[in-house]
Assembly symmetry: C2
Homo-oligomer: 423 residues x 2
């Protein structure tokens, strides 16, 4: 095996062999050449001896059974009832940036309801020139836009405020998904009804029994909010609000009302239950921060992580994760292997997009010793993701919302990882 | 209802009402204000009276039953057996640009096979410095890239050469999908084995019984080809090549070998069955064009189309479709309503991306008369999608491959659409 790289535009020649301690991987990669017989390549495998499934077998496909562990999961003790609860995206097992609808987290307050497009109605009323009711067929006639956005629950990582240290990125950071939406700009529909001069807010409300409702300032409503009917190219799934949900880019998920029923233009915020007793941030002095809609820049290493341990020995490895900001594009992510003492700039899979997930990588040669892995996101406003302690200094430990502190995974010499805190 | 637009940055005020003949839509949109009771809004609906599904109901979700028609479909008479056949993406019912894996077309030659990651092996041999066998675990240790590409079967629209005129965009243009892939650059793996100076081609081969194999020039292999294991964020589905497939951006789908087993570096093309008797283009003089790997710029209107008729009367409507080019980015799409006599520039949902689907829209006010709808794509090389007759002048009607001619849908006054040819 020549030591002279033939492709000067890459530099990975001898990647597995050259790595310190990379014996296990090198043995596998080299075994055909070394003459060690591997039945997986020397024998004709069963799948090459007969027919597989025909093209009519699965009109709509599901993941292969070997991936049956890559599913949404809820946590029994987190809420009183699964009807008013949350489940979590298996981000530890996903890659790239798109979240498939089938395993994208979902939250609701009285269960995922079922309605038809025929039964769907959207009313826009209140301080408008002309109240209107739109059918689904009406909405289909308006100009559409397409864009990819992350949706994060304000309570994502909320258990970390008090140091609950759930064992897995799915549970600590999995109240997030990232999909390509198609819909009508809310601005277009509000332009259709007109808005009276005293109209300064909107109140948006779902059709489910909880009629989950929130206030949004008119400036945001006229900016980038979508009345969406498709996600990742197909109709919204039932649990994601079929047939129509609101998409409020960069803002907390509770505002992304599913089964969207009504939009009322108002002169002041409605101060609904969901924005008074819930979704406000209890401060140390007993007062509440409110109107904390924007999701601050945040990141998490998805692998390795407690549910995705390192399954190989020392040598080359991929450290990867996700970063996002409700204020715009991610401009960079730093990764620390030693609990924040030293930082290395991660490689972004693509330049950060507006209010969407960014995948980052650190291609690392692991020496086999334990690591305290951290990621730190930066966004285009110059904001840098803080530590949990920095957050607690200002906001205490009372809240369950808007924890965007730096997460630490303790990767042990045996490759297992654990949720820990460093200070 | 005031006639003065309050939002000068939009211009759709009175959109449904102002449209010529838009009475039906306007009546619906205005009915709440007009005092006509609509039980769908005046009565408490069943879904608001009780609980829906809990968050534990569907660990991995499927589309709602009302969308059960949005599935892959095959055509019985197209091939001798469904084990060596093709099904079609329901592009007439999708939106945006991402194709969900579950309804993305798939083609195979001896059925979709099942293997585990543990059993997976990839051999790289032939004119290399060091033949290597990679396990799945090995592949996971190399640096990854993430990118979205379309995959189109060379036979997409092939029946149109002879004028078969299948009734629906799903069947005429549905051998295409567009996914976000994560994987290892093939260049990285070839750099690992090294390539002898006489190595000029690679031969890529699948692990299924057909061992579908194709030749690819080394220049392409070292450019943007991926050894992919994730699509749209999750593991490849079984029918898309789990656990590993080749991604050959911009080139015909047959090269995107599924269940990728072996890559042999060669000094010349292998001239396999799949690139001699198949996937060459029979010309009028009996000779065959070969090495027609790149997919020429192409587009299709997905709605309205035979499976997606206009379900409303005259007035505002959305005409939408997809455009793509194997040579780079789409720079523009023109739409004709009169069979190619006059053209209007469509609105692209986003600037064209490299070798990926682009969604386009024409926001049109329909006068209710019949239309001969066409779309015409342009790409960054300056190439303009030709008519079918222009293609036939040069390439005859013998081939079933690489038909990128302009498609025509005849939309009748009653809103139904039919596949027709105009000349």
């Amino acid at each position: 095996m020549s030591d002279t790289p033939k492709f000067p535009n890459t530099s990975r020649r001898g990647f597995l062999k050259a790595a310190a301690g990379g014996a296990a991987a090198a043995a596998t990669a080299g075994q055909a050449a070394a003459g060690t017989p591997d039945p997986a390549i020397t024998e004709v495998q069963p799948w090459a001896q007969g027919f597989g499934d025909g093209v009519d077998a699965v009109p709509y496909g599901m993941p292969i059974e070997h991936e049956a562990h890559v599913v949404r999961r809820n946590v029994d003790w987190l809420t009183a009832d699964v009807i008013s609860s949350i489940n979590f995206t298996p981000i530890h097992a996903l890659e790239g940036t798109i979240t498939p609808q089938g395993c994208a987290f979902e939250r609701h307050h009285s269960g995922a309801i079922e309605m038809t497009k025929q039964d769907y109605r959207l009313m826009i009323n209140g301080l408008v020139d002309q109240p209107l009711v739109f059918t689904y067929a009406d909405l289909e006639r308006f100009p559409r836009t397409v864009a990819t956005f992350f949706c994060e629950c304000a309570a994502n990582s909320g258990m970390e405020w008090g140091g609950a240290q759930l064992q897995g990125a799915q549970f600590t950071h999995g109240m997030i998904h990232n999909m390509e939406y198609t819909g009508v700009s809310l601005r277009t529909l509000l332009n259709e009804t007109g808005i009276k001069p005293e109209g300064k807010w909107i109140y948006v409300e779902g059709a489910d029994a909880s009629s989950n409702g929130r206030s949004i300032p008119l400036e945001k409503a006229l900016d980038d909010v979508l009345v969406a009917f498709f996600a990742n190219g197909e109709a919204l799934r039932k649990e994601h609000g079929y047939p129509v949900r609101l998409v409020v880019p960069g803002w907390e998920g509770n505002l992304w009302v599913k089964w969207l029923r009504r939009i009322e233009v108002t002169d002041m915020p409605t101060e609904s239950r969901e924005e008074t007793s819930k979704y406000t941030d209890l401060m140390p002095d007993g007062r509440a921060r409110k109107w904390t809609w924007e999701m601050d820049a945040k990141s998490v290493i998805t692998s390795p992580s407690p549910q995705a341990p390192v399954r190989h020995g020392p040598g080359p490895m991929v450290i990867t994760g996700l970063a996002w900001s409700g204020r715009g594009a991610i401009t960079g992510v730093d990764v620390s292997l030693d609990g924040g003492q030293n930082w290395r700039e991660a490689r972004l899979a693509a330049p950060g997009e507006q209010k969407a997930l960014t995948r980052f990588y650190l291609d690392h040669v692991w020496d086999g010793s334990e690591m305290l892995l951290q990621a730190r996101a930066r966004d285009e406003t110059g904001y840098v993701q803080p530590t949990k302690d920095q957050l607690r200094e200002i906001r205490g430990r009372n809240s369950v919302y808007h924890n965007n502190g730096i997460q630490t995974w303790w990767v042990k010499a045996n490759g297992e990882a654990e949720n820990v805190e460093v200070s």
